[in-house]
């Protein structure tokens, strides 16, 4: 079973503020899922290489060519930052990193 402290630590790492009810609920649910996952311990993987992907493609690059659709103008600017909740001119506005 995860401890309260572990759940709070995970939530902080995940950048999600949990209510105390959520903490309690996730503690139970995550613990039972982690218990289920424990079954993997039974599998001998001593000589097995991990499989991160199935296509076998490695280092896929595309030509470094300029594309007209990526030339910055008002329209592209609007597409890129037009939905930013808080802006000042062409800049994205954020709250201070350090607390006052």
């Amino acid at each position: 079973m995860l401890s309260d402290k572990e759940v709070q630590h995970i939530a902080t790492l995940a950048r999600i503020k949990l209510t105390s009810q959520e903490e309690e609920k996730f503690k139970k649910e995550l613990s039972s899922i982690l218990d289920y996952i424990e079954t993997l311990k039974r599998v001998d993987t001593e000589q097995v290489a991990p499989l991160y992907q199935t296509t076998g493609l490695v280092n896929v690059l595309r030509p470094d060519e300029s594309r007209p659709s990526f030339i910055m103008d008002e329209k592209l600017n609007e597409l890129l930052i037009g939905q930013v909740p808080d802006t000042k001119g062409h800049f994205v506005k954020v709250k201070p990193v350090l607390r006052k």
Binding site: R15, I16, T39, V43, P50, V60
Partner: protein, 469 residues
């Protein structure tokens, strides 16, 4: 089969001979969508041809009205991914699959409901209300592409696109009695698909017939420079083998797919279908996929790990819901994500964050990727002696709404036969194989193929479809 409305072929023919225009069939479908609003299959609907010029009204899917799962971007349209955090998000560009459908000349009817960020097996995790199964409104349509599957089953579109990370096309197709194909990983571009688990996600068609699935694949598949995991190889004509018989086709039946947890009425229908394949000339071979029992545990490490990374982009800064609470940047993150995400994304982000956190990486993530290799190896070995592998798509027929929503693990078990296929990157189809004897609800039959061998999967499926009539 009951009146399924239009297939791609019948819609195209109707337009070609002048029975109706592209506009008329579009309007007819919009009217039906309005009448069946209670199903909650659609999150948004469009006006005719508002997506611009339709450069190829003569394309292969010219004038065919279709529906798109709401995690794919159509330029200028809202894409919510079923989440409050993207409630007002306007797509800045077309997903590659959408661009290709536009080129083929389709009409987009609207965007379909789904589990939040495609996380779920019942569409009960949508932030915009649950979807009802059109065959029995007290039951779920499956998920996460539940809106797309319900729309196809209720004839609220000719076909739909879904996405499949652990079964999200095939399981709802099974629950709603329609056809759903998950292509090989790397076959269809994921560019413009809102990412859930990047090493598993794949876009695919949900259709009324196997032939329609092949036609949609012809339109959407192919290499894309915007998705470096797409494979550049010759694009086959996916429809070319449909009429061919399956004499001598070697069909593998994994014994692990018929163990505990499989409902009797599902098992009975699946076994009958295997007999039909035998009668059609296929040879049946019992095979073993010994690591099947570990697939779900592997999936519930790898998928949440990738989820926790992919959903880190929702920070309340660049787009989407932003909380005004607090005075520092960290407060914006914490509160925006707390307010914007529902319970299931939170659960999976937390699980993934834990699995990837310092000190746990080897025990969880690395271990899971090693067992994943063994699961893939099981398939590789099996495919040395068989051409396709068959079994049930899901262990049960559509379950009642609310039945599993309080028990995440029980819900996850619904994907037990579909998840291994994603882990191995293989193509697989679910086709309806009749009604369960007790529930009178559709049972899904799954056919799994070798990497990039959708052709044989579709061929086997078309043969079974003919045999079932």
């Amino acid at each position: 089969m009951a009146d399924i409305g239009h297939t791609i072929e019948s819609a195209r023919k109707g337009i070609a001979v002048g029975d109706f225009s592209a506009r008329e069939i579009f309007d007819e479908y919009q009217k039906k969508i309005e009448e069946k609003k209670d199903l909650n299959a659609y999150l948004s609907t469009f006006k005719f041809a508002e997506h611009g010029a339709y450069p190829a009204r003569e394309g292969d899917l010219a004038g065919v009205p279709c529906a798109i799962k709401d995690n794919m971007l159509i330029e200028g349209e809202i894409a919510t991914a079923g989440s409050k955090i993207l409630e007002n998000y306007v797509s800045a560009y077309d997903a590659t699959a959408i661009k290709k459908l536009k080129k083929a000349g389709v009409s987009f009817l609207g965007k379909t409901n789904m589990d939040e960020f495609a996380m779920g097996s019942s569409t009960e995790n949508s932030a915009f209300g649950t979807v009802k199964n059109p065959l029995d409104v007290s039951r779920v349509p499956g998920g996460s592409s539940g809106g797309s599957a319900a729309a196809v089953a209720a004839d609220l579109c000719v076909f739909a696109l879904g996405s499949d990370t652990g079964g999200s096309i095939r399981q709802p197709a099974a629950f709603c009695g329609v056809v759903g194909l998950k292509p090989t990983y790397g076959r269809v571009s994921r560019h413009g698909l809102i990412a859930m688990a990047s090493s598993l996600d794949q876009i695919g068609p949900i259709t009324k017939t196997v032939a329609d699935a092949a036609l949609v694949m012809n339109a959407i598949a192919g290499h894309d420079i915007f998705d470096s995991t797409t494979v550049s190889r010759d694009m086959p004509d996916f429809a070319i083998n449909l009429e061919k018989d399956i004499k001598g086709l070697r069909v593998g039946v994994p014994k692990e797919f018929f163990g505990g947890g499989l409902d009797k009425e599902v098992s009975a229908k699946v076994l009958t279908s295997i007999e039909l394949l035998r009668e059609a000339g296929a040879t049946i071979h019992e095979i073993s996929l010994p690591h099947t029992e570990y697939a779900l545990a592997v999936y519930y490490i790898i998928m949440p790990s990738e989820v926790s990374a992919n959903l880190a982009r929702f920070d309340g800064i660049r787009y989407g819901h932003s909380s005004q609470k607090g005075e520092a940047l960290l407060d914006t993150y914490l509160a925006s994500r707390a307010e914007g995400f529902g319970a299931e994304p939170k659960r999976r982000i937390m699980l993934g964050t834990y699995a990837l956190s310092s000190g746990y990486y080897d025990a969880y993530y690395l271990k899971a990727q090693k067992v994943r290799a063994l699961i893939k190896k099981d398939f590789d070995e099996a495919f040395r002696s068989v051409d396709v592998i068959v079994g049930p798509t899901a262990p049960t027929v559509a379950f009642k709404a609310g039945e599993k929503s309080e028990d995440p693990l029980a819900m996850y078990l619904s994907d037990i036969y579909t998840v291994p296929v994603n882990l191995a990157g293989l193509p697989a189809i679910s086709i309806p194989c009749g009604m369960g004897s007790e529930s009178n609800l559709p049972v899904g039959f799954q056919i799994i193929g070798k990497l990039f061998d959708e052709g044989t999967v579709l061929q086997a499926a078309a043969n079974l479809e003919r045999a079932l009539v």
